[in-house]
Each structure stands twice: as C-alpha cells, then as structure tokens.
Amino acid sequence: MRHILSILLENEAGALSRVVGLFSARAYNIDSLTVSTTEDPTLSRMTIVTHGSDEVIEQITKQLNKLIEVVKVIDLNESEHIEREMMLIKVRATGKDREEMKRMADIFRGRIIDVTEKTYTIELTGTSDKLGAFIEAIDRAVILETVRTGASGIGRGERVLKI
C-alpha cells in the first residue's frame, strides 16, 4: 500500500544521503522524495512516498528512526492528512490544440506561466493522482516535458510534526 512518511531531520550535510542510502541498502521503494529546510534552519522536513506491506512500512519507520540525524518520523496515512504535489508541464500548443490546452488547464485549475507561439508551460498543483489524471487527459503527443516535485504532505487539524 502507498504510504506518505514525514520526516524531520537535522539540516546537516550527509543527512539526506543517509536516508536515501537506507532505502537502497534495504531494498525499500522510494516513489518520490522532497526535502527542504523548515522555519527552523537547523531542521529539514522530508516527505517520502513509498509503498509496501504493513510490516515493511513498520521496518522503514523504525530504520529511519534509528538514523542519528532523524529527529521524528510519522506515517501520514495513520490519520487525516493533506497531500500536494506541483507539476510544471510544457506542452505543444498550436492550431486548435492551443485553445483546447487552455481549457484543460482551466478545468484542472492549472495556470499557464509561460507562453510562446508554439508552447504553453502549465503549473498544476494537487494530489499526485490529480497530476497523473491531467497527463492522462491530454494527448500524450503534445507533451514536451514534465517536471514533478513529488508529494509533500501535512497532517490535518491540530496534528503537527515538531520537536
């Protein structure tokens, strides 16, 4: 099953490679990974999307907690949470496709952030599923380039991940 893990870790050189190294050394999957510093510059917040059986997810969580630089790990799937991912997608937009592409971007609440005579670059935010749905919805042949950030997630309501 797909799980979203939120990890608070020391913002130190090498911390990221320890996390990534753990996944490859123990043959766990990384579907996506995003990381950046938090309001406290000594801490980074990482979101990893992974999949596996409950036992595997339990092991991943334990192994992550074992890393000296990892402060806290939570599995967002354990309760209500919000997930967002951003995609930048460059598409060919000529002739009748140009109007159609604008319409599709509007339907998916995307924004066109760069325009040339032949292309649009669209910014789209949502769950990973929604971004996938957009790619499915448009003609594959017009896609020139896609860049996805990978999901980031946060607990709903009062639930916070903090020191």
Partner: protein
C-alpha cells in the same frame, strides 16, 4: 592556549581514558602521529595491516567494558579498515575509528590517497562524521564515543582532513553530550513487562533464547538469575555464548544452523519464547514461516526497536536496555513469588532430556587422526574453561562454539554477523592487551590464519603471548563441507596446496611453533603450550586434523529447526516429517 587539531584529538582520546590506539601511519595522519609521539598517556600499537588494527580495537571492546579505538590514514588505509568496521557493525560492537582525510581544499578533486570515507562506510557504521572545522573536533569525538557505546552499540567513524589537524584552536572537552535526535531507550514499558511475566508464568513449554545483546548489555547476571529462578531451559546464540554459563545443566547448548539437537528442537516446540538481545537471524531460526508453524508466543526484549518484528512478528515487544528490563522482571517475580506450573515444566524437561540423551555433539574418536572436536575439548580442559577464545571463521569456529563451554560473557570473540576470516589473530591480540593476565587462545584454520598472519609481527613487538590453535585440515573446511553435501563433492578451489610450514613461520617471527600429527600428542603439546614455561611466548600449534570431518548437527538452507542433518550415530533418530508433528502441542 591554542593547540593544533592533532593535539586536540590526542587530548580527547586521553580524556576518554583510551589505553591503546591501534593504528598505522600515513600522509594524512602525520600531524596526529606527531602529537602521539609527544604524549605518554596512551600507547599506540602499530599493526601490520589496517584491517588488523580495527579487529584488534573491536576485540579490545568485546573483551572489556571499554571502547576500542583505531587510527588509519586516508585512501587505502581507510578502505583497508572497512572490513573491520563492517565486522563490528554486524555484531554491534562499540568502537571509534579515526581516519585521516586529504586537506579540505583537496576534497573532491581526486587527490592522492583520497577516498570518500564517510560515503564508503555509511552503510556499515552506526554513525560517521567528517570534521571540517578544528573547533568541532572535541565535540565530535565526545559524540562519537557516546554514540558508539550507548543504545545498540556500534562503530563510529570520524574522518579528519589533514589541514584540520594542523589548524589551531582552544581545547575544551565537553563534559556531557546531548543529541536531540538520538535518545536511546533504557527502561522497558511496565505494561509490556507485566504481560511478558504473565505469559512466562502460564507457559507449559517456556524457553529462553539469549543473544549478543545480553553480552554487550552486561546482562549475564540477570539472564542467569531469571533462568535459575524460573527453572527455564536456556539457549545462547553464537554471539550470546557465555551470557549463560555453558557448563550449567539448564543450558541446552548453542542453537541454530550448527546448534545442538535439543536446543533446536526446544526452539521449534516451545510454547512461550523469551528472546533477550537476539534478532531471529537466518542462521538461527532458518525459515521464519516454518519456525512459526508450531504455534508459540514470543516475548522479545531488545534495545533496538528495528530488531523487533523484523523477521518474526512477536507478541510482546519490549524495547529497552536488556539489563534494566530483566531487573524489573526479576523484581516483580521476586515480590510475587510466582513460578511456572511445576508439572508442566517437569514434563517439558523430560522431553528435553530425551532429546539431549541423543548427545548430538558426539563424534567418532580416532587413534589415527586428530579429530578437531577433540582438540577443542582438550583445550577446554587444559585452560580450565577460563581462556578468552578468539576465533576465525569456518568449521573450527563452529567446533569452538560447540565444544568450548563458555561460562562467562566476553570470553568468546568471533565475527558472527559478517563472518570475517582473518578476525582471529588480531582479535586475540586486542583481547590480550585488554586482559594482560588472561590466557588468550585463537582457534583458527589454515585458511583464516593466512588472512592476517602478518600480525605475528605485531604480537612480537607488543609481547602478546596468545596461543594459536590452528585446526589445519588442508581444506577450506566449511566450503568443502557444503561442496560435499550440495555440490556432489566437487571440491572447487577449497583445497589448500603449498601451505607454508607454520612452525617455521612462527619461528621466523620470533615465536614458538609445534606441528602435531598424532592424537596422542594433542594433550601433552597443549599442556606444554599453555604451561608456565611458555606463558610469555606466542605459541603456534599446527594441528593436522582429520580432513573429512564435518560439523553436525546442520540445518540446510530452507529447512526448519527440527529438520537437522544429524551426526552418523543419530541417523536412526526419527525426524518425523513436520506435518505429522503438528499435534505435538498436546504433549505436555
């Protein structure tokens, strides 16, 4: 007053009470070696290969309560140390390894003797550091020692670039250390402890399975008290030998791939199992599904949460320091005065005694050929069971584990997890330095000993009178045994031709050597080697043993704990196919 980074490092090691530093100099650590030259508080032991420095430091830790320290240079010095680091990591041994690094401005430029030590060792250390600022040295060393020995212990690497050892700073050694992201567990959850006790008291066929965590966690006394007070049968893993006295009748022997018949059968057929600092390793329980096919409740005490429910789902996990947790269990049991049901326990013991009656470690004695098991038995007798035994890896390791009855923890040193050939001799050396008055034997084979034989030179220089007991069968014995069983006796590359004359080798290094070819000479030569006349000498005993001897019992890959290959005298012992054994649960 400002002092150099190298001097700061030396002062840190002094503050940590380091006695011996095992190492080998080189370009990147010259500044550190100069600072070592100008101090007298600790002694440097110059090994002949960096791998040996790390094994010696590791065994220094294993055989004492201290943290072993090794020092190596950058590049090849660092990579040579990696096998030793991985060995300590797999067995959770506290150790600090300091490696030199090229100067900071040269890092990443493929400089001479540059290697990314932090990157290379990342998967086989508990933690590692690259020190980029001279002001961070003291703090980092303090943290390194703390991380190495707290929680589940392990090796920590500190990589220090040459320019950082040359820069100057004030020295201040921190008194305490706090790492917000690292808080190892100590006390177990009281509710879980209660549950565990209730399970144990209700058990009909209780069993205690004790691993290296009890040795490293100094919990041998608590284990022994629990086993004694509840009348439990007890087994130790390869790493746990000595945590419960090997000569005690409640000890069923080691379990696992080469465990005794009774230890393995009890593991399969117990109804409540308490695992103490053990991790249900593949060499111990073999196939998890088969192990669990006989219903049992499992209590697991471990300081490392990730060891719990990793291979086997347990019923009562207790995360905590094994010593603390066992203490609390003992206190509760003492206050309540409760014991498991005597009748059930008596029935269980009756079954165990029946299993034990087969004597699965019996071997066929010979007057012609030296049986390796016989050598270990005699060694046990002659050293009064008191020697520290460092072992290499292979058949001899298993025979040592089976036939030398270790009564104390930290007496048996071997590379259990990684299985590193070449561990034995440097380990014996490190253990002898940590325990100058102890008798230290290195049980090895002609294959393993040659993987670090150069350390005979170090042993000469530092007067470590270890006794090398080489079980020389002219084969890489364990490889040969597998080839005999599983590869139609095609002994591919497992025969050692052109062996050196080990007696002459020993003599060339300034030691004493004996070659023993007759069974009748085993005992007298051992007595001489371990006698007062040779007390101060390193003695190399080259026992020419039976070439065809195999280690039994043995569990083949994919087989269960009750599906052992048994020694010849037990071939008629019916190992009932497992399916027919399912109603065993009603036996007691």
């Amino acid at each position: 007053m400002q002092i150099s980074g190298a001097e700061i490092l030396v002062r840190c090691l002094q503050e940590e009470g380091v006695e011996f530093l095992f190492g080998y100099p080189g370009g990147a650590v010259l500044e550190i070696y100069d600072a070592i030259f100008r101090q007298e508080k600790f002694k440097h032991v110059l090994v002949r290969h960096e791998q040996a420095a790390v094994h010696a430091a590791d065994a220094y830790s294993r055989s004492s309560d201290k943290v072993g320290v090794a020092l190596v240079t950058s590049g090849p010095g660092a990579t040579n140390a990696v096998t030793g680091i991985a060995t300590a990591y797999m067995d959770s041994i506290p150790m600090v390894v300091i490696s030199g690094q090229v100067a900071t401005p040269a890092i990443g430029l493929d400089a001479f003797q540059e290697v990314d030590m932090v990157g290379i060792t990342r998967p086989c250390v508990k933690h590692n550091f690259l020190v980029k600022d001279v002001n961070d040295i003291a703090d980092t060393i303090k943290k390194a020692f703390y991380i190495a020995k707290s929680g589940r212990p392990g090796p920590v690497v500190v990589d220090i670039p040459k320019d950082v050892t040359q820069q100057r700073a004030e020295f201040h050694y921190p008194e305490s250390v706090h790492i917000r992201s690292y808080v190892p567990a100590t006390r177990g959850h009281p509710g879980q402890i209660k549950k565990a006790i209730n399970l144990l008291l209700e058990a009909k066929r209780p069993y205690i399975y004790v691993g290296g965590g009890a040795v490293q966690g100094n919990a041998a006394a608590e284990v022994t008290e629990l086993v004694k007070s509840l009348g439990l049968p007890c087994t130790n893993t390869l790493m746990g030998l000595g945590a419960y006295p090997g000569s005690d009748p409640q000890f069923l022997g080691m379990l696992g791939m080469h465990g005794t018949y009774e230890a393995n059968m009890a593991m399969q057929y117990c109804d409540v199992l308490i695992a103490v600092g053990a991790r249900f390793d593949d060499r111990v329980i073999s196939v998890p599904s088969h192990f669990l096919s006989q219903p049992k409740k499992i209590i697991h005490i471990d300081v490392d949460p990730s060891s719990i429910s990793k291979r086997v789902k347990v019923d009562v996990p207790i995360v905590g320091d094994v010593k603390h947790v066992l203490r609390e269990m003992l206190d509760i049991l003492r206050q309540s005065g409760q014991k498991p049901d005597a009748q059930h326990l008596a029935n269980w013991w009756k079954q165990i005694e029946e299993w034990r009656g087969h004597n699965s470690l019996l071997y066929t004695p010979s007057t012609e050929l030296i049986k390796p098991q016989y050598v270990v038995e005699k060694l046990y007798e002659i050293t009064g069971g008191k020697a520290i035994v460092a072992s290499d890896v292979g058949q001899h390791q298993m025979w040592a584990a089976q036939y030398y009855k270790f009564d104390s923890p930290k007496q048996w040193l071997n590379s259990g997890g990684l299985g590193t050939m070449g561990f034995g001799l440097p380990a014996a050396m490190g253990a002898q330095l940590a325990n100058p008055d102890a008798t230290v034997a290195c049980i090895t084979g002609e294959g393993s000993i040659q993987m670090n034989i150069q350390e005979l030179s170090t042993c000469k220089q530092y007067h470590t009178p270890v006794k090398i007991v080489a079980l020389n069968n002219r084969y890489l014995g364990m490889v040969r045994q597998w080839q005999e069983f599983f590869y139609g006796t095609r002994y591919s590359e497992s025969y050692m031709d052109a062996l050196p004359d080990f007696v002459k080798v020993a003599e060339a290094y300034g030691h004493v050597g004996f070659k023993i070819e007759n069974p009748s000479d085993v005992e007298p030569v051992l007595r001489e080697a371990f006698g007062p006349a040779l007390k101060e000498r390193l003695v190399f005993l080259d026992f020419r043993t039976d070439q065809s001897e195999n280690v039994f019992p043995m569990i083949q890959n994919g087989k269960g704990l009750d599906q052992m290959d048994l020694p010849p005298h037990m071939r008629d012992v019916q190992q009932v196919p497992f399916e027919n054994n399912r109603d065993y649960g009603n036996m007691c």
